[in-house]
């Protein structure tokens, strides 16, 4: 079982689920793709939400996809989101 505060050698899929805010998720899983379910959206337009269940966390988006599929076996809404900056790499090459 993975303990929440130390993710260095943690398995990507989590056994003990807890509800976390986006700020807590970003702090705990920096620069990773997190697979979330039961997201308490504030409204139908913004990304803002209260808390969500984190089902798994991965280094790449492709790695997260099987966890999303697995999550849909148990939850009606599952998504994957990156916790770091959403910059695209080409931008870095444009900066002198």
């Amino acid at each position: 079982m993975m303990l929440a505060n130390d993710t260095r050698n943690a398995p990507a899929t989590m056994n003990a689920l807890e509800r976390l805010s986006w700020e807590e998720i970003c702090r705990r899983y920096p620069d990773e793709w997190v697979v979330m379910a039961e997201i308490e959206w504030v409204n139908d337009t913004d990304f803002e939400f209260g808390t969500a269940l984190v089902l798994a966390h991965h280094k790449t988006r492709k790695e997260a996809s099987p966890s999303v599929k697995a999550g849909f076996q148990h939850y009606t809404e599952v998504g994957s989101f990156f916790t770091g900056r959403l910059i695209f790499p080409a931008h870095e090459r444009l900066v002198p």
């Binding site: 337009t45 990304f47 770091g84």
Partner: protein, 134 residues
Amino acid sequence: MKVTRFSTSEDLIFVKGSVWGPLRRRGRPLWFALDTAAAETIIVPEVLDEIGYNPRQGEAITVLRSAVGREQGYLIRIERLDCLGHQARDFRVHAHDLPDGWNFEGLLGLNFLRQFNYEVRSAEGRIRVERVAA
């Protein structure tokens, strides 16, 4: 009139959207980059696979030309796409990989946006959108 907020600290405009497919009773949420320079809306193939679509259901094979090369993908109609507080049904998207390191899962292009009048208020981090009467 719907108002969507976005982060002004990012390099692009990212908005939350959701897509529906045959396997999902609720939408699969994802981040789109708003791209008024893209004619079509693009979603990465993994997301479409997760909601129950596969390349065999595609209408056509497509090739995306970009600064980094040519990527093959496919064109497909999805049951529903929600974004900016509005929805589009039986909506055509391109299934294409985005380059590694682009940490979002879709580009929201003009084939979605042209159904609306919209106002991007960059300094405020808000997009105001109203549907155009048919």
